[in-house]
Amino acid sequence: MDTDMDIPLPDELEWLEANSHLHDDYPDFDDPSQPYPQDEDEDEFQPQSNHQNHQQLQPPKPTLSIPPKTAPTAKTQIKKRFRSDGQDSSVTEEGARSEDKRKRGDDVRLENEEGEGEGAEEDWLRYSPPPTGTEEGGGVVEEDVVVVVEKVVSRFASEIDGDFIPVTGLDGERVYAKMSSRVEEMNGLKKVGIKVHTGGLISEPINILIQRAETQAFTKALQSSVEDSSDAILPETPVVNEKLWVDKYAPNSFMELLSDEQTNREVLLWLKQWDSCVFGSGIRTTTDEVLSSLRRHSTIAQHQKLAGRSFSRNNRGHTLSKGNFEVNNGLGLESNDAKDIPESWDKKTKGSGPAGSPERKILLLCGPPGLGKTTLAHVTARHCGYRVVEGRFTSDKEDNEEIIFVSYILVINASDDRSSSTIEGKIFDVVQMNSVMADMKPKCLVIDEIDGALGDGKGAVEVILKMLSAERKSDVGKEDESKEGQIGRTSSRKKHRSASLSRPVICICNDLYAPALRPLRQVAKVHIFVQPSVSRVVSRLKYICNKEGLKTSSIALTALAEYTDCDIRSCLNTLQFLHKKKEPLNVLEIDSQVVGRKDTSRSVFEIWKEIFQKRKEKRERKVRNGCSSMSKDFEFVHSLISSRGDYDLIFDGIHENILQLHYHDPVMRKTVKCLHSLGVSDLVHQYIMRTQKMSLQVYQPAIAIAVRGLVAQNERSNIEWPKSFQRYRTMLMEKMDILRSWQNKISPHISRHLSTKSFVEDSISPLLHILSPPTLRPVAVHLLSDKEKKDIVQLVNTMVSYSMTYKNQKADPVPSILRHEAVVEASMLSFDPPIGDLINFKGYSSGHFVLAAAMKQVLVHEVEKQKILQGSVSKSMDPTDVCSKGNLTPVGEQKGRAQSSAFGCATTSCAENMQNAKNTSNLRHSKLVTNQVSAASGSTLSATASVQVSSPGPSKKPSSGSFNFFDRFRKLSSKGSENADNPKNKPATSERDSRPLLFKFNEGYTNAVKRPVRIREFLL
């Protein structure tokens, strides 16, 4: 820039002199980049005096408009400096005075700042248009305005007593400034400047520029860390044409935020709660009063704030005026000393942990895109004096540090095992360390789009959670440590390396219910963004449009905002696009114009609501748009449904809820039609699934809309999630499973003729009848007549062949024990494959006869005996047949015979065992285990003691039924020992073979007469 400078010709000088103020404005119009470098210059010259600054700044501006000439740069500068002074000679006094004034102003400001604390201070520095407007006024009208700002400047002339002058701001805003007597004294000197100004040739006098530059320099000095704040400081420079409006008009201060007031304040409050932890208690802790007042602000409605807003508010529109307010607000927070601090709040601060950090250490902001979540996080964090470090998992940013951060995570996720530790290190750095930079600002980690990337986001979520839990643990131990300053803290943390969160972490997501966020959701403080009101959005848009010179009507803007669901980003982009195209915003054809619909998917519940409920506001539009409303409506719902997809679920939901609606339907025609439509959707769905012709999916939304046309009501309906179909599916699977496993247990001779599909249909009911004959008397077996005995044999036979038994209803992991218990508490016996359930329809009582409990007991015993007998019979009679039967009918034990054909038995049972292994019946497996255990104990016992029937339980347990190969081996060995014990009693194997013996001991079966008996007594 300096190279362009040159020495003007003498006459030009004169001209320049006359128009020096005018030229000051040129850079604003001509060179868009001008103000920006200027800032940087100032950064460098920061330590220098204001005066020097002022001189350096001035020269380039006038010279810019002059055609370039070749001249040595260095020389030019000096000359220029001189010249500029000279040029200003007519206003030297004024200049000096203004400088004087400026210093005073700075003093005042400094005082203010000291009082305010940093948050407010920064607010003040980051003001946007309106405050500068005031400054302009101050610049023109000199000292008084700056010194006593509130009193002297007013929007209305009538509010000022005495003399005043009108001051027009850059953006055409006009305020009236009071002229004090001192000003009047100086009037003579100043007249030139004022005349120039009022002459309309120049809208911004040189003084203002100087002042602004100073302000910027000052800002720089205070917060050079916030990189992008430099351009943010000059939001009103209309020259930055290539910037997106979205960025250009991004809110820079807390008060400018467009999002919901309540949320904003809650977030701010949350961040403020970190103060004592982050900034240390001594230095900058936000006092409880501030917090409480903040809290009050967040709860109390807006009118309180309105009082604080003094001037220039109506003109600028609602949102902008907040910028004005913020100076006051910063003070207001302080001055608003809350005498009535809510008790609950007090408690909260105390309960929030010794470190002074809030209870919930993570803030999770969620909401649809474009509502300003990220902006809120950044602005608030900056507002509270943090340095924002952003981690984003889906996109890179130009910031260097962020790239490192992002790339770390991305790279590391490739190898899973290292990932969390390295991310942890990185996050640890951010969350705990002090930045090495000059500014000692603590960092605030903002993780954007945390739900976006499942794999990547998860790592971070895990790490954060880990830190959080570490914090919880360590909190108990060190309480005093937390009171140290942050340097002490970091070092001590480093020592034991327990990473914990000592800096605020803000996570931002669109979908709160993303699976990756499930753990985070529980620990984080969740804020759900709601749409800002249309009016707020519109007023903001209007303001921006005015700024940009785009002609719009508020109706059009309202329509636009509604159309985009108050997504201000989308609105702004649209407007900018239209602006570039030089097209006006057309109200009626908003959707046909450039505005793209966001591809957002609503939740299923919203869709169901949309289907079951008529829209009210659509009605209004109907009146306006006439006949096209139907198609509008149609299109709206159509896009809603089709953007969601997942038609299966949508139709399930419709089906679930449709009968609960109250629509007028005397002959059920509508219901028929709806169900018919649902049927059609099912057909289409099935066809699509079978043929994979996904393009046919487009017809699904239309079906839903057809249903909507039939049943949509004005009243609210309460919509339920479709559970019944899922329930039906899982239950069906369950029952099928029962049937199938049962079928596998039945001997193949029978089961091959059964199919699980027709089983319930055909056989269950008669089977239940047959299995519980009412003719059977519940008496002891030996009391029955022959015929009845035959019946019982028949029944037992049937039960065995269908591998049915009774068992205790309480699910017990050990079935063999169960059977013993079943004898004791017989009342709870039920069929083992629970086939009774299959006819147990809701609200239906089947007239099945249920056997007496005693009878069931008898049956259980008989069935068991029968199984055992059958096993032994099948083995002795037809060894090959075991292969077919062994799998299904548990092979019983053989006492005497087993030994005589020990080898054969072992081989057959070998084969059987293999089958068993294949048979994956759970029951069998558990039996196997228990039997092994009991058999082991049994064998040891029988080795030591002689086998006695009355000897306590365990030794006899194996006899209750041995089912597997190992078991049999053990028994054989135990029997071997037994034989060794009683060689006299069993001299020959032939003798034993002649008396096959079966014994069984039932532990706790109390109606037996107990007395010690020896086996040989049975045998002889």
């Binding site: 609960q660 003729h753 047959i770």
Partner: protein, 354 residues
Amino acid sequence: MLWVDKYRPKTLDKVIVHEDVAQNLKKLVTEQDCPHLLFYGPPGSGKKTLIMALLRQMFGPSAEKVKVENKTWKVDAGTRTIDLELTTLASTYHVELNPSDAGFQDRYIVQEIIKEMAKNRPIDTKGKKGFKVLVLNEVDKLSREAQHSLRRTMEKYSASCRLILCCNSSSKVTEAVRSRCLNVRINAPTEEQIVKVLEFIGKKEGLQLPSGFAARIAEKSNRSLRRAILAFETCRVQQYPFTSNQAIPPMDWEEYVSEIASDIMKEQSPKRLFQVRGKIYELLINCIPPEIVLKRLLFELLKKLDAELKHEVCHWAAYYEHRMRLGQKAIFHIEAFVAKFMSIYKGFLIATFG
């Protein structure tokens, strides 16, 4: 053992119900040349029994010695391997399996496993029976793809293996498969035949049947032999010396359906329809096939219906059953039928009684 199993004919000669079919099959087998066979007919008509008897006829009594195998197959399907679990019943001569158990992966079973089985010729081919028999159950439940791959297998390995297919409805078996098989229709036994069987069993059991009692059971059995015999045994268990007017215990689910039907007749409103839905779900959950539910429901409704409505209601039942079979969610269609019925019936009531 239940009578159903006890008195199941083991050989083709002993078959009572489908005697003609049995004789034909016997002739077919003894002439050495056995084509692929497709047995189809309603459940409980004796398809399986015939197949077993046929196998016995072919291979002798050792064909009855079967063992259950539950094996996991690893099928290489292009890029990945699929684990399929399949239960088979196998003797030395034949393998019996239910390919539709694998659900949508059934074609892998057909393509890989069945092919594998079909390829292996039995080793003891002493000029006697040079082929293996594969019995596939529920072929009609196979997906189209599986059926298509089946026909290739049928042709390619026809030298070493014979397929015996068994299904309820031949209409769901593709033309191509059907044309490669000898189709054997096993129709439901007539009531006379059922009576014959019941009398046979009664004689064997030494029971005294009052006249007309067997006929009553047969009438109630819906022409399913299995049901008839089960009902017969139930009666025997409940009250032995039979009386001719003895109550035959009904099937529970049928009772439930008739409850639903009376619910429907009592009130026609969306609210009632909602209750009906819950009950239908109950039935479906307990493994009653939706077709059966719909059919039974129609049957129960028709009993209570005015004659002039019967035709229309039948029409709609058929209409919705068709859609149900095309679709996936049976409940939608059954409910649609119920709603339609309610609508018709209500309209009728209003028209008749004002």
